[in-house]
């Protein structure tokens, strides 16, 4: 089976992002970049399939700036077989639909059996590209996927639902958008890291793919950091009974949780 995983490089969840002066973007300096967490689960799902089915190949692709190469390197270190970077002049401000169309061009070329994406990226949480890619390709799409297995003439796909899961079946190629699952994404082995360092990562020029990069898009009007949390209050001196009454009053009137 030939699998293709689409990933996005985002600020690592431990990073405290700062809003840039124009309020349209974050300050990129000092940011630790990482593969978006759901995309990591998509890689893990693909690699588990490869572990169980030795004939499987796992490719990984991203549309992003040159620094996104590090995300691909990480995916290779985890055990993906090959990686492709699609990059170009205005790639950082590319909308979700244009990204999906660019990916679709590469999918046409690579002809994978399944395409896996994280269910959403952790930076904008739009959850759009996977679905848009399926739509552009004209492929079926299953969302919130936690598992898949090849079965006679197709793929059985586990989709998480409230309190359990449904099993869907795709008879041909499909796009799966992946949910966090029980097993954490694997930590690359050192030989894996060393091998990934030496691997070629071919680059494709965004503009020369022939994808329609126009069309409807969204624009960020302004972003601002969340308000700072107010300092807590400690009540310690006084009669416990009076303190309790005071606390109840504060919880009701100020915090409004009662």
């Amino acid at each position: 089976m030939k699998l293709l995983v689409c990933v996005k490089q985002v600020p690592d969840s431990t990073v405290r992002v700062k809003v840039a002066g124009d309020q349209k973007a974050i300050v990129p300096e000092g940011v630790t970049w990482a593969i978006s967490p759901y995309d990591e689960y998509a890689i893990e799902l693909a690699l588990e399939h490869k572990d169980a089915n030795p004939g499987t190949t796992v490719g990984v692709i991203t549309v992003g700036p040159p620094r996104a190469r590090d995300a691909l390197r990480q995916a290779l270190a985890m055990g993906c077989d090959d990686a492709t970077l699609v990059t170009g002049a205005d790639v950082e401000t590319l909308g979700g639909l244009a990204t999906a169309r660019a990916l679709a061009k590469v999918v046409d070329e690579v002809t994978p059996d399944l395409v896996l994406c994280g269910k959403q990226a952790s930076d904008d949480d739009q959850g759009f590209v996977g679905q848009a890619l399926a739509e552009t390709l004209g492929w079926p799409h299953v969302a919130i996927v936690t598992k898949f297995v090849a079965s006679d003439g197709g793929t059985e796909i586990w989709k998480e639902v409230e309190g359990g899961h449904e099993v869907w079946k795709a008879s041909g190629p499909a796009v799966l958008t992946v949910q966090k699952s029980q097993k954490d994404p694997r930590y690359p082995s050192l030989p894996g890291i060393m091998k990934a360092k030496k691997k070629e990562i071919p680059e494709k020029d965004l503009a020369s793919l022939g994808a329609d990069l126009g069309g409807p898009s969204v624009e960020i009007r302004a972003m601002e950091p969340p308000p700072a949390r107010k300092a807590g209050r400690v009540m310690k001196d006084g009669d416990p009974k009076a303190l309790a009454a005071e606390l109840a009053k504060l919880l009701r009137d100020e915090a409004r949780v009662l």
Partner: protein
């Protein structure tokens, strides 16, 4: 005796010698070849220290006399010293028997007396050893039948020696230029008579043949330690104990850690041959004591047994690798992950076996080759990689603890004399932030010039290295070395023993050499220089050391103006770096503090808190939690202690958790020794903010 008979006897003797030493020698040769399957580790540095160790540890048997083992240690030393003397006599007997030569000095009265007295001591000691094995066997002691065979052989050796000495005196075969030694002299009249010659000859032959049986049998048993302890002590690691072995040129290697018997060094294999199966390491292991699957002695023996099993195969086929030790059914990964690297085993081992290095080498295989560290440990590694701390807190928040305290960074004050390397725990853990603040207050009151790195500081990689991820350790250590060198740092203070250990003992492996001091050592000398002044009633609320209002002073604090404080030795301060006295001296200097010990688990026998070796970030679901056992020990030894003080952020976290889980918050409060000092600082009321 006629000449031909004499000639035949010499030939018989020579043949017996050849047979005995031949069988033993063949086995030794084979074991040597197996040992050399290990890689070539250079252990020739510091020859003078090696010689001293040989005299003290080998000849002096110094590691045998540890407190709980004093009597049996003495018994062993007597057997050992007796053997040294008697071996000289044996060499003399064989040389005389075959070639008619004598070792100089063996015909004197002094030598006869020495042999006689040692024979008595050895007989008494093996009687003690036999009784102990048969009737008072400790549960961790592993007694193979071979143990009794050896005791019987030694017994026969001593008895036959005494008999032929007695008969020699009785038959007047020995020149009587001196008073007969006590035991031989005592028995001599019993064998006097016509048969004295015969008894002499019989006992002589029994003695000599037993020696040869011993030589043939010895290398097949754990008693080989009689021979291997000498080189094992001579070639023991001269690295600081806290420093793990550096792995050079990671980029060029293809395998990492101990995947096969070839991936241990020859010295690590010699360790296996030297293990006496005494079980002292097991006795001291906190993991074993609390019901974990780890037993340090078993690890050493597993590797040895695997070498003996696979040795022939590996020697026949240079491409064969055998089964990775961490994949064997004997050594399970759970055993390796249970280790806190506290080095209680290494400290306890009388023959200087290096258990922790073996465990870490096998962890390196699991962590780097197979990415098979426990998932929680893996998460800590990812956090270190991405956020520069094992908790996964934001890099940007690293110096938030210092907000408003006016503690300069090196960028702001590049000429500061000291860098205070805060470490992840004191930077991010709320409880330990109070310790960092306490130290800052102390340093300031002493007028010391210091600064921190702020956001330029990152985890030094200690947990990564001990989990087995050498690669990540090197990246983290290198990043810190670069930051230090940016500001030409020379002197470093740490409040964390793990930071201290890795910066002082391990950074030099990557070229980072600094003068590193743990805060308690520094504070000790500042107190002695009179630069820190403390008052009985410090200006700061005693229960509120560093602006932590939720805990108030309770009546248990200063009953009668004194408080009883137990000291808990952090492994990486104590056993790994031999800093036992400075923290105690600091406590003794704090007015109103009465220091007590958690006996017998203190100093060299201090019991781990359970957090070392990356265990801080792993689940602990099997058996009793190590930190809970530590609280039990504290309560058993010092029920009156109202505080338990330590010098390590991880110990503090573990002790806090233990006290909390046992509902003892009102009885005993865990603190850092630095907090005791800060709470009594004389001078500005805002000394510790």
């Amino acid at each position: 005796m006629t000449a031909p008979t004499q000639g035949i006897l010499v030939i018989v003797l020579a043949a017996a010698v050849a047979l005995g030493f031949g069988i033993g020698g063949y086995r030794v040769w084979k074991l040597y070849r197996y040992m050399r399957l290990g890689w070539d580790e250079d252990r020739s540095d510091r020859p003078a220290t090696r010689l001293r160790d040989e005299l003290v540890i080998y000849l002096g048997q110094s590691k045998l006399f540890k407190r709980p083992y004093l009597v049996r240690g003495l018994a062993h030393a007597l057997i050992f010293w007796g053997f040294l003397v008697i071996t000289l006599g044996t060499v003399d007997l064989l040389l005389n028997g075959i070639f008619g030569l004598h070792v100089p000095g063996t015909e004197t009265g002094l030598f006869a007396w020495t042999i006689d007295l040692f024979a008595i001591a050895v007989l008494a000691s093996i009687a003690l050893a036999a009784v102990r094995r048969m009737f008072f066997r400790p549960p961790t002691m592993h007694v193979a039948p071979g143990g009794y065979v050896i005791l019987v052989l030694i017994g026969v050796l001593m008895l036959s020696l005494l008999v032929f000495e007695s008969a020699g005196i009785a038959a007047e075969l020995v020149k009587q230029g001196f008073t007969p030694p006590p035991l031989a002299g005592l028995f001599a009249p019993a064998v006097r008579g016509p048969y004295a010659h015969l008894v002499f000859a019989g006992a002589w032959w029994v003695h000599v043949l037993t020696v040869l049986a011993f030589a043939a049998y010895l290398p097949h048993t754990k008693h080989l330690h009689i021979v291997t302890t000498l080189p094992n002590v001579l070639f023991r690691s001269q690295r600081p104990r806290g420093a793990l072995r550096a792995m050079a040129d990671l980029e060029e290697q293809e395998t990492f850690g101990a995947a096969t018997m070839r991936d241990f060094s020859w010295k690590q294999h010699l360790d296996g041959y030297t293990c006496t199966e005494c079980g002292r390491c097991s006795d001291q292991c906190p993991a074993l004591a609390t019901g974990k699957p780890l037993d340090p002695q078993k690890i050493v023996l597993d590797v040895r047994d695997l070498l003996l099993r696979e040795g022939d195969l590996l020697m026949r086929d240079v491409h064969a690798s055998g089964t990775p030790p961490a994949h064997q059914t004997e050594t399970k990964p759970e055993e390796l992950w249970a280790c806190t690297t506290c080095a209680a085993c290494v400290e306890a081992c009388p023959v200087t076996i290096e258990h922790v290095d073996k465990i870490v080498d096998m962890r390196r295989f699991l962590a780097m080759m197979e990415s098979a560290a426990p998932p929680e440990a893996q998460r800590a590694l990812t956090n270190i990689e991405r956020a520069g701390n094992p908790w996964g807190e934001s890099r940007e928040a690293r110096a938030d603890w210092a907000d408003g305290l006016e503690i300069p960074t090196l960028a702001e004050k590049p000429d500061a004399e000291y860098l205070y390397f805060v470490g992840c725990a004191a930077s991010y853990d709320r409880r330990n932030q109070r310790v960092a603040k306490a130290l800052a207050a102390i340093l300031r009151s002493a007028g010391l010039s210091f600064a921190i790195l702020g956001r330029e500081e990152t985890c030094n990689g200690d947990p990564a290295r001990r989990i087995g991820n050498e690669y990540l350790w090197q990246i983290q250590a290198q990043a810190n070395i670069e930051a230090f060198d940016r500001y030409s740092v020379r002197k470093v203070i740490t409040s964390c023993p793990h930071c201290f250990n890795t910066i002082a003992n391990e950074f030099p492996q990557l070229g980072g050499r600094y003068e590193v001091v743990h805060a308690l050592t520094l504070v000790d000398s500042l107190i002695k220089e009179g630069r820190i002044r403390m008052a009985r009633e410090g200006p700061v609320d005693r229960g509120n050391v560093a602006g932590h209002p939720e805990r108030t002073t309770s009546s248990l604090d200063l009953a009668g103006g004194r408080e009883v404080v137990a000291y808990h030795d952090p492994c990486y301060l104590g056993r790994h770096n031999k800093i036992y006295d400075a923290p105690r001296a600091v406590m003794d200097a704090v007015p109103g503090v009465e220091r007590v010990e958690i006996e017998p688990h203190h100093r060299e026998r201090g019991f781990c808190c359970g957090a070392g070796g990356g265990r801080m970030w792993m689940e602990e679901q099997v058996g009793q939690r190590v930190n809970h056992r530590r609280i039990d020990q504290l309560r058993a030894a010092q029920a009156d202690a109202t505080k338990v003080a330590s010098g390590c952020p991880f110990c503090l976290i573990m002790l806090e958790e233990g006290v909390g889980a046992k509902g003892l918050q009102e009885q005993v409060r865990p603190v850092d020794v630095l907090e005791l000092v800060a709470s009594r600082l004389e001078g500005s009321a805002d000394a510790s903010h």
